[in-house]
């Protein structure tokens, strides 16, 4: 580790101007995020006039207060956490168990191609919103947590990704395990999975982000705002300024503290947070070259 660091420092000293340019570029990626955070923390009157840069003008937490004001927020948060936990667990299970057999050749798994086409078919053809809704309604899933989890439990895209990774693992490793008396389950659980940590982490992250960010299924499949997951709840939160009802200064002052601009910014920040929190924990699995040198000759 120290060896790496000193080499990095030497390189930095030698090419300081390259480092500077790269740092500036990296920083420029951060600017829009900082700007969004600043807007979300500003008084909307200043945000609306376009005066907020990287530092909040007239600091206020009102847009976050608005975001969390109603009892629905807590419930929606809980639903989202549950759906992510269930969704990731179920998604990983189906992905691994489908991808592993599909990664075998047709000799080992004669119907492999038929199954493969079956999967690919669902990626290309899609029945549309109304049949999807009717199907879920007929299954009695409307208004339940399962409506958010079951319909997207099998992702063809993730399965193909995982399958290709499994295929990249040298056959010899598997053969060695079989020689040592391992069965199919043991090969999968104790050989393949430990070697696939980086892609497992990637796919877990995909599923997590997908479940966390999806607001549309909540919008269509949940009939009551009290059943919304967090993103759907956040999505429907808009400041509706109705000129026919604003009569007193108090309401207006409240409405003026938050507006579409600041509220939208705080929505963005809230949706970014969980992924930013989870990412560092997953990062230690993003290790390359675990199988490097595992097979000789």
């Amino acid at each position: 580790m120290t060896h790496h660091r000193s080499r990095f420092l030497t390189a930095l000293r030698m090419n300081w101007w390259i480092a500077l340019i790269l740092l500036l570029l990296a920083f420029s990626c951060l600017l829009p995020i900082l700007n969004t955070v600043a807007i979300s923390l500003s008084n909307q009157a200043y945000a609306a006039t376009g005066r907020v840069g990287l530092i909040p003008v007239e600091f206020t937490l009102s847009s976050y207060e608005k975001l969390m004001a109603e009892a629905t927020f807590g419930r929606a948060f809980l639903i989202s956490v549950l759906r992510v936990l269930l969704g990731v667990a179920l998604g990983m299970l189906t992905t691994i168990l489908t991808a592993y057999p599909l990664s075998k050749s047709t000799r080992a798994f004669p119907l492999r191609n038929a199954y493969m086409w079956f999967l690919v078919f669902t990626m290309i053809f899609n029945a549309g919103t109304i049949p999807w809704y009717m199907q879920i309604r007929n299954l009695g899933l409307l208004n339940t947590l399962w409506a958010l989890v079951l319909p997207c439990a099998v992702s063809s895209y993730n399965i193909i990704l995982m399958m290709n990774f499994f295929r990249g693992i040298p056959r010899e490793i598997e053969e060695a395990a079989i020689m040592d008396g391992a069965g199919a389950w043991r090969v999968l659980l104790q050989v393949y999975l430990p070697l696939s940590l980086p892609s497992l982490a990637t796919i877990a992250l995909f599923i997590l982000v997908q479940h966390w960010n999806n607001f549309y299924d909540g919008l269509i499949l949940m009939n009551k705002p009290s059943n919304y997951p967090l993103q759907t709840y956040i999505y429907q939160l808009t400041v509706r300024i109705d000129p026919s009802t604003i009569s007193d200064a108090e309401t207006l002052r409240e409405a003026l503290k938050v507006s579409g601009l600041t509220l939208n910014a705080s929505k963005l920040v809230v949706s970014m947070v969980p992924v930013m929190v989870v990412y560092p924990f997953l990062q230690r699995y993003f290790v390359k070259g675990l199988t490097l040198g595992a097979v000789k000759g």
Partner: protein, 531 residues
């Protein structure tokens, strides 16, 4: 004996009539003897400012309806406005309708009628509406229930939107005063003032940074909209995107007229000179607002409620900033021409087979008692809060056409004598805010006085003349071809204004428009209105 019988029958009939006559409000507010249930499908009103322990499905307003009428309202579904039409489609195709459903699309209303999915409500309005509500409907004459009358039968309860929300001029009066200019009335004077603002830069934006006239990307023809330059078009007798009835009674689409060509030629010239915001096509709504709020622009067009939104931020940003409404530009005859609103855009429909088709009428009667302040106990439900009226189960807004103008006159009269006696509760609020602004200079109350009194009175000026325009239901050809037609319409308007297309090509656009389905649509619309 027979005579006696006749007499008795006659007496009974008279008694019956007397009862029916006296009924009126008794029937309207009579509770059901046994509790009935009513399921509702509606849009989510979002945050209505209820306290923590209440939500849209459980609150004292629903209890109120239940206590007064013995109707237990529950929601089958509450959908988001952004996907509302889709949700109604899903309800229609799956055949799973709530007892009462809100529809916000006229095509869907037609579909429900054609497929015989909703109850015929003919006559129920007269029978069950309270006198208060009936009076509002009657004030619109045939238009009251016209939007949902098919073959002489009434199929829904429509909302009625107040009028007078057309656009007129808004000017920075503090800039006009600082430059010693005068308030404009004609189109030439408006443009002259815009040039003066750009040249003299009273806002201190720096050379060339002041925008003459702000305009949004839709340019014209959207009612009740901030940033259209409709009034400029109207001085040429042009009403883009609206169906206008001519002197011969025939309806014509306002975009494809000679008048619109002339107006476009004029606006294109303004754009060329830089008087019209040179970057208007790339500005989002937020960018547009920022121009007005940050003091980069001193002229735009909008309806009476501008001071309520977005202008208060301008006042926060710069307390000296003084946006005022002006009834300009006037046409050569001294009149200000405008078109009228689409009165009904939301309908409550009753599922075919619901046992109590009159129940929604009663719910609305009670709703208006509560929301218009006739029952003071309602204000004690959540005393510290300003709960929005959309919390009531059937959000059907009913207003008199000139409601805002009349209210403004009443408030102004009360202000003249500083005596709010006789004002209804809502107007009393406006009165009190106006006094705060006029007497104490309370900046947070500026907007109420300006929108509710100054701007609303102005909107009702005598020299405002409305053209005869209609909002036709979607026709078959519209379903097939309207998207394409609107695309070439939008493109042509923008390209001509931006000088990317010579004005003379407008004629070939008109030919094209008629050839690609416009003619059929025009015929269908004329047929719809009996031509």
């Amino acid at each position: 004996m027979r005579k006696l019988l006749c007499l008795i029958v006659a007496l009974m009939m008279m008694l019956g009539c007397a009862q029916a006559l006296a009924a009126g409000d008794d029937v309207a507010f009579a509770p059901y003897e046994e509790r009935i249930s009513m399921t509702v499908g509606r849009a989510n009103p979002g945050s209505v400012d209820l306290p923590e322990d209440a939500d849209i499905e459980h609150n004292k307003y629903l209890d109120y309806i239940c206590d007064k009428l013995n109707i237990d309202v529950t929601y089958d579904w509450i959908a988001e406005p952004s996907t509302y039409n889709q949700k109604v489609n899903l309800a229609i195709t799956s055949g799973d309708l709530p007892d009462v459903m809100i529809v916000t699309n006229k095509g869907q209303l037609q579909q429900l009628v054609e497929n015989d999915l909703i109850e015929d409500l003919t006559g129920l309005a007269d029978q069950y509406f309270s006198d208060y509500i009936l009076d509002i409907y009657n004030s619109y004459a045939d238009k009251g229930l016209g939007s949902c009358t098919f073959d002489g039968k009434v199929y829904a309860i429509p909302n009625l939107e107040a009028g007078y929300s057309y656009s007129y001029l808004w000017v920075r009066k503090d800039w006009v005063d600082a430059l010693g200019a005068k308030m404009p009335t004609t189109l030439d004077e408006v443009v002259e003032l815009a040039r003066l603002f750009m040249e003299k830069d009273p806002g201190g934006n720096g050379e060339g940074n002041t925008i003459g006239i702000a305009v949004n990307t839709r340019v014209a023809g959207v009612y009740n909209n901030l940033g259209n330059i409709d009034p400029i078009f109207h001085t040429f007798g042009s009403f883009p995107r609206q169906w206008i009835r001519g002197e011969d009674g025939k309806l014509t689409y306002g975009t494809v007229t000679e008048e619109t060509k002339n107006a476009l030629a004029y606006v294109a010239q303004l754009y060329k000179e830089g008087v019209l915001d040179p970057e208007f096509v790339v500005r989002t709504g937020d960018d547009f607002n920022a121009l007005l709020l940050s003091g980069r622009c001193g002229i735009f067009f909008g309806p009476w409620w501008m001071p309520d939104w977005p202008l208060p931020s301008a006042k926060v940003n710069n307390p000296d900033c003084d946006w005022v409404p002006v009834l300009a530009p006037l046409s050569d005859d001294g009149n200000f021409y405008a078109y009228k609103q689409d009165e009904s855009t939301t309908w409550a429909v009753v599922r075919k087979g619901y046992e109590h088709p009159e129940a929604p009428f009663k719910v609305l009667n009670q709703t208006y008692i509560g929301m218009r302040g006739f029952d003071p106990s309602v204000r004690e439900f959540y005393p510290d809060r300003n709960v929005l009226w959309t919390v009531y189960p059937l959000p059907i807004l009913l207003n008199y056409d000139d409601e805002n103008v009349q209210a403004a006159k009443l408030i102004q009269a009360a202000l003249d004598t500083r005596n709010p006696e006789g004002l209804d509760p809502q107007n009393t609020n406006f009165y009190e805010s106006s006094v705060k602004w006029l007497d104490d200079g309370d900046i947070d109350s500026w907007h109420t006085y300006t929108s509710r009194v100054t701007a609303s009175m102005l909107a009702g000026s005598e020299n405002v003349k409305f053209v005869d325009n209609v909002y036709p239901a979607r026709t078959d050809t519209m379903d097939l071809k309207l998207t394409q037609l609107e695309k070439i319409e939008d493109e042509t308007i923008l390209k001509i204004i931006m000088n990317e297309m010579p004005v003379d090509e407008f004629d070939s656009f008109v030919t094209n428009w008629y050839a690609q389905g416009g003619q059929e649509i025009t015929d269908e619309v004329n047929e719809m209105y009996g031509n």
